[in-house]
């Protein structure tokens, strides 16, 4: 981290960054040579021994030059749209400038769900039909570990130099070889004042126990966000917690579920229910609620006093992607602060691109002080990153959480 004083953002991202995984990768590194000597091709992770070397992703023949196309899978409400909601201005501008058509599909509803969808193809060494998508930090770690994503060719992404220092050295991808962040943001509490009867929802305890919200609360199926917020509410730190803390958080959610407080566990699709008022209050992602509230003032969000989780979603290029170079051009395009500013003005998430603040201020002065896009030191001091989990913890915790969510 050089000898510079870390910025608040850097500090937030670094908290809990030196993790078991980092240690594990080190340990696994020793195993690499041994396995390689055994003649392991390491391309089929499902057959390899536990904790083995990072297998390398297979590249397909790049058809970028002949086939002017990119297939991009992304989350809902995650890119700028024109006022009539019929086009996506920054994408259109990209196509106009490069002649590359972008098939933008909003089919990334939830990390686990998306992983389950593409894993059989990746494990079989097949093309997923996608050239680029945006995965959350911990999922990027898994994709790299299993050799399902290709290293980015930085020669095609000169704008990568604009990456904010805070996002530079992350534990899941040291040196950003495989991934570049698309957006970062907070998990928070979103609510629809029409459905709550004008009431504000300010804490997780209130969300999980207030009888006025009974049966009209949803939580995210994204374990790290839902459990992270509950941990914070219980005075624990998601970047440094024990199994007992985790179990206590699960117990609190279980109790709310048994009381009929929770309607559902959702992916990104909670936005429809929240707008319609079928969901009164929920665990939500900051930018979603913020951008929806522009058209629907009854939607509000709370960054809980107790703290909130911070995450980032990252561009990755999967193995066997047919248009890798095009995808890299696309990433490069979005790493221009002027372009990113247009996206931010719409999505209200934290930009990983340096210079966005100045570019945003040029569009709209007020946006420059928006805490969701440009969080202050104070806002960031309460944002916690969920700590990395060992493979064993990950499967154990995921099981506990999923049994709760579907049991």
């Amino acid at each position: 981290m050089n000898d510079k004083i870390p910025t608040p953002m850097q500090a937030a991202f670094l908290r809990g960054a030196l993790s078991r995984r980092t240690l594990m990768t080190g340990a696994a590194g020793l195993g690499v040579t041994a396995l390689a000597a055994c003649g392991s091709k390491g391309r089929s992770p499902s057959n390899s021994a536990s904790g083995s070397a990072t297998p390398t992703a297979k590249a397909a023949q790049d058809m970028s030059d002949t086939d002017k196309l990119i297939n991009w899978s992304n989350w809902q409400q995650y890119i700028d749209v024109s006022d009539d909601e019929k086009s996506r201005p920054t994408l259109d501008a990209f196509t106009k400038a490069t002649g590359i058509k972008v098939n933008y599909t909003e089919d990334y509803n939830d990390n686990d769900e998306f992983y389950a969808k593409v894993r059989p193809l990746l494990a079989g060494g097949q093309d997923t039909g996608r050239d680029v998508w945006c995965s959350t930090d911990w999922m990027v770690a898994r994709l790299i570990r299993q050799g399902y994503v290709q290293p980015l060719d930085k020669a095609n992404i000169p704008n990568a130099k604009n990456l904010e220092a805070a996002f530079q050295d992350v534990s899941f991808d040291p040196g950003r070889k495989y991934s570049l962040p698309w957006q970062a943001g907070f998990a928070c509490i979103g609510f629809n004042t029409k459905a709550t009867g004008g009431k504000k929802v300010t804490t997780m305890t209130q969300l999980l126990t207030d009888p006025a919200l009974k049966g009209k609360v949803t939580l995210l199926s994204e374990m790290r966000d839902t459990v992270g917020l509950v941990l914070l509410d219980q005075g624990k730190d998601p970047s440094n917690f024990t199994k007992a803390d985790f179990e206590a958080a699960i117990a609190m959610i279980q109790k709310a579920k048994d009381a009929g407080q929770i309607q559902k566990f959702t992916g990104n699709d909670y936005t429809d229910g929240l707008s319609a008022g079928d969901i009164a209050a929920c665990v939500a992602w900051s930018g979603d609620v913020a951008s929806l509230s522009l058209d629907a003032p009854e939607l509000e969000l709370t960054l809980p006093e107790a703290g909130y989780t911070l995450w980032s979603d990252n561009f990755v290029i999967p193995a066997m992607a047919k248009h890798k170079k095009n995808a890299e051009k696309l990433i490069n395009y979005y790493y221009d602060p002027k372009v990113m500013a247009e996206v931010e003005a719409w999505v209200n998430y934290i930009s990983p691109v340096a210079g966005t603040k100045e570019a945003v201020a040029a569009i709209d002065k007020d946006l420059g002080s928006n805490q969701l896009i440009f969080p202050s030191t104070e806002t960031l001091s309460k944002a916690k990153k969920f700590r990395d989990l060992s493979a064993q913890e990950e499967s154990e915790f995921t099981r506990m959480f999923t049994n709760l969510a579907t049991g």
Partner: protein, 305 residues
């Protein structure tokens, strides 16, 4: 079979059966058998072996023949299994109550409207199952007119009192899930009922009347027994898919209405615990086969199984 083959092979009724035509029925069966082997037998065996594996997604799964997973699965998920059977059963009964009069009317009384009515029954199939279920979410939306009306006549309070909903709305409740199931599988009930009621000779009902049977008695002794094959086919076509359904409970239900299909879906696609998901699929399969066999025996139409 040999006789049939002879007829197919020669077309001459008097000639003795000849050997040469023997392969014809097998040849005709071959595509179907191949289909069944590739798309039923092989997946079943794969699923069966998968249920007896152990391991995790990173390290891969190995066959260990661990049967105890079935006991674990039942122990953990018996409420979901029971719930699925309960919801599917209720939906089947509701579909029968709604479908029978409609099918009867279409088959016996509709006259020249028959075809139009038939098209109306099939029309929902022109749009996707998912879209139709999502439409229900809009229809039953908390701020929508349906809920407002149901509240004004006290229907929501009634549902709440009998425990079908948990607050004074309709969405995200047992009620919504059962309605969704009934709605989605209703055509599967109506079509077989229609087919068997259409064949019903109205003169038989007239004859019953001539023999001093009241309309109710005529229905009980003539119409109902003759429509029984349709009833059995319709209830099976409704119950079996409804018991394994995961869309309705996911879109219209809450955390208390999770059906077994949803658990299997999430174990397969979310937790990636393939053995447990495979075991649950087999348990569901066995349960349905047992229930259906019992039911068909009881209904007295053994020839259907």
């Amino acid at each position: 079979m040999a006789e049939g083959a002879a007829v197919v092979g020669t077309g001459a009724p008097v000639r003795k059966p000849v050997r040469r035509g023997r392969w014809v029925p097998y040849a005709l069966l071959a595509p179907g058998l191949l289909w069944l082997v590739v798309f039923f037998v092989v997946p079943m065996i794969t699923l069966g072996s998968q249920s007896l594996q152990e391991g995790n997604i990173d390290e891969g799964y190995v066959f260990t023949g661990n049967v105890s997973i079935y006991a674990d699965a039942v122990q953990r998920y018996w409420p979901h299994l029971l719930r699925s059977v309960g919801y599917a059963g209720t939906a089947t009964v509701l579909a029968l109550l709604l479908g029978y009069p409609l099918a009867y009317f279409m088959a016996q009384k509709a006259g020249r409207w028959k075809n139009i009515l038939l098209i109306l029954v099939i029309a929902p199939f022109f749009t996707s199952f998912l879209i139709r279920t999502l439409a229900w979410r809009n229809i039953l939306s908390d701020d929508g007119p349906v809920v407002a009306f149901a509240q004004s006549i006290g229907f929501t309070s009634l549902l709440q009192a009998i425990g079908l909903t948990s607050n004074d709305t309709l969405l995200a409740s047992k009620f919504a899930v059962i309605c969704g199931l009934t709605y989605n599988f209703l055509p599967f009930m109506i079509l077989p009922l229609y087919a068997s009621l259409e064949r019903l000779d109205p003169r038989l009902v007239e004859a019953a009347g001539d023999l001093y049977a009241s309309p109710r008695e005529a229905f009980r002794r003539v119409t109902w027994p003759l429509s029984l094959p349709g009833v059995v086919a319709g209830t099976l076509l409704t119950f079996i898919p409804a018991a394994g359904d995961f869309i309705n409970s996911r879109l219209l239900g809450n955390t208390e209405t999770v059906m077994i299909g949803q658990v299997i879906d999430s174990q397969f696609l979310r937790v990636l615990d393939y053995p447990l998901a495979a075991a649950l699929s087999f348990i569901l399969l066995t349960m349905i086969v047992v229930l259906v066999t019992f039911y068909v025996r009881k209904a007295g139409t053994e020839e259907l199984v």
